[in-house]
Symmetry: none
Subunit: 223 residues, 4 copies
DNA sequence: TATGAATGAGCTTTCATTCAT
DNA sequence: CATGAATGAAAGCTCATTCAT
């Protein structure tokens, strides 16, 4: 974690450092990032960096923490409409929030994505983070089976893997589809939002259909 | 591409260099790899490296090329039983080959995987490779629609994305599931192979069911 | 010399700074000592250090001064029993005091010892301090010759050098012989004190015999 | 130990590096020495230093090794006249050689001296070297007792300590007495040599008298 | 072709010192 | 007086690359 000095910094300066650090890691990756380049860009003295952070790793972990924190905040801001939602309705709600966040914070989202695909301090770190994510999806599906939303014959491991693999790179994919300039944020009523929604629907439709409860399928009120 | 000097090398020496290069990139990533460390490990002179390759990037691209080549070779060795297979039967055949190859070449597979998830010379490079892969799956599905194997109402973009996202990290996932020692290769009749097959079946079942032709399935008002 | 600010400090705070400074110099030497490490250990602000001292050198010289002062105080506390002692009786008295002091202040004693053997601001500084010490012993011996305690044929330079060389590292040697824990101070009636006294006697015996007035010793053809 | 690269260097270049390294350590001590300063003085690239040595410590230990080696070589060049010498005759012979060497290599001698008085990689290192030296003198004296040259009642620990303490700084003392310019080497027939011999005699006289066999002293048939 | 010494730019990190609060 | 953030020089060390042998 950054040192108190960092948090005592004026808001704008701190933000500028964070922004440039995100840019640095997003551009060059965990191993390619350079303190020298960062402080030059930020216009601070090299020694100052060490007043704020232990080292680059410290800063890197803070950025991941920051991203997770902010995304969680976004999700908390719109509580799920029903406590006993089907897994895919839950996902729909979650994705609306998290994709929204990630699309408006593409560089930080990219860092987090790459942290989960091999970039990072160690392979163990990556494996741990990824296992946590897969576990979450697995639990979600298990609960769905209990409530009859999910096919009981489903291979849970396979299904959790499909969800992790598909949803993890989702916002990266969306970002590559819509040619998004860094400042050109996606607005809730813009055409990009509509395109995103459409693709999201197509996606979840495939997944839900592939995993959903198959016996009572006829009266699926969903379609 | 490596220089002619490299290909004139004795087979065993060339292979040792390749193996250690794979190890280097798999361990430290594109940006963390070091020529110094590599030549020290390989026991060759530093100058010799530059007799074989332009630079690290040259070697890196060669490794990717090598992996693609070898995987293609494996696929060519077992031709598809039927020229007009359904997309998922094609995938089943392909995966049997490619997963088999990647599981027995985990370090090189890891490099290729990371090359497609952000590690590499440039973002453009990554995007290009990934687009090629997605295009392939898209074409496969389109052909499947023509032959009636795939739901014509399917969102092709979404489906191609699901396939890319799911199948790309597949062997990495399998490798993490089965605790594989480098020498402990997966043999066709071992228990690990059975476990892999089971998971592969579960996976394709979900995808096929989610994307398959829905019309013959009773009165699905969905499609 | 430290600034007035330092001497206006509360006794305990000032003492803590001195103790930690001693620890710092004793551990890392004159050139290895670090202000950063010291203030971190002492829990004072970096700026405060400069309120108390000009720089590290200032603090260093103060510590030496302090050690000399304290040792002198110890010696003053037990005045010599006879104003016209033989040089070796004088030494015996002096050593009892100074060794006692140094053994109970091993870290500061170590700094002073190293200051006289090459560690310090400059070679001139070292030479000067050492010359003063040698001069003292030389005078002591000269006076001894006058009173008939010391062999008049003695090479005064050589003898003063022997005394300086032997007595300077004495307490360091004793400290290495008795395994002394920092807190485990040598008490006047402990077994360590007895061992020290024995070794001191053996030592002075050699020196006294080697330098002492040789005429009364039968017909020594040597002198 | 330095790397082979270093030993493959042209003689004059290697010698220049050694000379400047000696100068560096002698001037600034173990902790104050700087690679940057050294390479600047030597006119070699910083990277080259690391082609020759692991780090500064590597170079430091090599210098000590070199000094020991050279001194041993000098001693080997003039074998002791009699196999069963008295301890002090042995010392006389040894000192003639070692002091001769050290006086003509004052900077390296200074480094070795300081290595034995607290400057160096660790306190353990210092203690070990010093213990070896003291052990040597102790053995020498013990043998002298057996042969009747040394007073059997002598406190061996105290005596070995006196020898170590006196002889260790000896050449440093001599060097400070004779104002020696670096190039102004002491020649065997110069006036400085005579002064050194005189002081050496005075010194050994004191020590020998102080430790020598005291009872049969009159008819000393040994000499 | 193979070699490995030479190079200097560039890295991370620590440091003493200043100074506004 | 106390504070601790800011600073840039300088440290040790690694690196890719060149080039003479």
């Amino acid at each position: 974690m950054p040192k108190p000095t960092f948090f005592n910094l004026p808001e704008d300066k701190r933000q500028r450092i964070v922004d440039l650090a995100i840019e640095e890691f997003a551009t060059y990756g965990y191993r390619g990032a350079s303190i020298s380049r960062l402080v030059a860009a930020a216009g601070i003295a090299k020694g100052s960096f060490y007043q704020y952070f232990d080292d680059l790793d410290d800063l890197y972990r803070y950025l991941l923490h920051l991203g997770a924190e902010q995304k969680a905040q976004v999700l908390r801001s719109t509580p799920p409409p029903d406590p006993a939602l089907s897994p895919f309705d839950t996902l729909r709600w979650m994705l609306r929030g998290s994709v929204g966040y990630e699309v408006t914070n593409p560089r930080l989202a990219r860092i987090a994505y790459r942290a989960l695909t091999g970039d990072g301090p160690s392979e163990a770190f990556v494996a741990e983070m990824r296992a946590a994510l897969t576990g979450f999806y697995r639990d979600l599906l298990a609960k769905g089976i209990k409530h009859g939303h999910i096919d009981p014959g489903l291979d849970l491991d396979a299904a959790a893997f499909v969800l992790t693999s598909t949803l993890l790179p989702l916002s990266q994919y969306l970002l590559s589809r819509i040619d998004l300039e860094p400042e050109d944020l996606v607005r809730p009523d813009g055409p990009q939002t509509a395109a995103i929604e459409a693709l999201l629907d197509g996606l979840l439709d495939i997944l839900e259909y592939g995993m959903g409860s198959r016996s009572p399928r006829k009266d699926d009120s969903h379609g």
